[in-house]
């Protein structure tokens, strides 16, 4: 490992540490207050709910690390073979990921909406991995979207290619076209100006999962109207029985 790579690795570890300690610190502080009787009764429920959300957030961060360790350098043929027997029902996966951000979205005044929840579009693969992709994108969306704005998620099957397209758009802090925000350890300049929180790992994991395990593509861009759009393309889409299509 050369000096530059070592610096990048140290920076990544430092960012991840910072991002994990903050919510854990919040949980410990809240529990300490509850134990010592500092939190008024009327606030206890909200504080404990918030603490649970902070723990879930930390687990999600650690899960990114686990996926990175498991899939970044590995031969993924075994995964793909196993994934042939599993399916991701898209609205279900997206809604599960959305629910995870209810608390955080509420505190940032950002909502997430799935435009077509009745469309039972699906692809083969491990739904846990795809859920993690949406969680990472929603995490960014909630963190960087304008307060009061909505993140809109839409998915459809492209007739020509048979690919599933998932679009996630909202009024968020943009990024410059030359920034490769999906690279490991990269955080956009504008994002760094808004918050110190961010590891540069989440979007990299998204790319790793989509490209390497689902054989798809993920892109991100700022639209002319200023909205930030993430688009995921997954091959081999189908509609599960009982769906609307």
């Amino acid at each position: 490992m050369d000096v530059e790579e070592k610096d990048k690795a140290m920076n990544l570890i430092s960012n991840i540490t910072h991002q994990a300690i903050n919510p854990l610190n919040g949980v410990i502080g809240t529990l300490d207050n509850v134990v010592k009787g500092i939190v008024p009764d009327e606030k206890k429920q909200q504080r404990l709910t918030s603490a649970r959300s902070q723990l879930e957030y930390t687990v999600s961060l650690l899960r990114n690390l686990a996926y990175f360790a498991q899939y970044s350098g590995a031969d993924v043929l075994a995964y793909r073979k196993e994934a042939e027997n599993r399916k991701c029902i898209i609205p279900q996966v997206i809604i599960e990921a959305m629910m995870f951000f209810q608390e955080q979205g509420s505190s940032h005044d950002v909502s997430i909406e799935l435009a077509n929840p009745a469309d039972q579009n699906a692809v083969k693969g491990n739904p846990d991995l795809l859920r993690q992709v949406f969680m990472n994108i929603f995490d960014n969306a909630v963190k960087y979207s304008k307060p009061g704005s909505k993140v809109l998620v839409k998915d459809w099957i492209q007739k020509r290619s048979g690919d599933l397209i998932i679009s996630i758009s909202g009024q968020s802090i943009g990024f410059d076209p030359e920034e490769d925000i999906f690279s490991l350890g990269v955080r956009g300049r504008k994002a760094r100006e808004v918050t110190s929180s961010g590891s540069g790992l989440g979007l990299h994991i998204c790319r790793l999962i989509i490209e390497k395990l689902f054989n798809g593509e993920i892109t991100g861009y700022t639209r002319s109207d200023g909205d930030v759009v993430f688009e995921i393309r997954l091959p081999g889409a189908f509609v599960v029985s009982g769906g609307m299509k």
Binding site: H18, N25, G29, D32, N33, H108, E193, T195, S196
Partner: protein
Amino acid sequence: MIDRKDTILVLDDEPEFLDWLEDFLLAKGYRVLFVTNIAEALKEVRNYRYRAFIVDLNVPASGEYLTAIEKKGPIYSQYHGLYAAEVARNAGYRDRQVVVYSVHAVPAVKDVTDRLFVAYLAKGRPHIFKEQVMDILSYDPSDKQA
């Protein structure tokens, strides 16, 4: 400068993780005002003297503030909160009124905080952090002569 002796000003870009600090300070009889970036913080400390100014060192900065911070050197560039602490000291905040913290103690930061005469805490253990904050708040230097 208008005194706000009943209020603690906290600069942290992730206040959602500081409910515990707010609850603790409220229980001790203080009000708490959160600001989430350098610009907001400097506006407050230049116009009001809060009972204390608690600063997360790892906060974002942009525009003119980022330029000013980068001119101060690599430690300030890495820990933007040091700049806010220094501005507060220059605006008339006394040593025990400014508290900075980071995830863990960094010797190079300690050199700067010693020079600025501000308290430097690591926030890894909230109950120790709370004890240290209360120790600092136990003495009000607002009306004392320099």
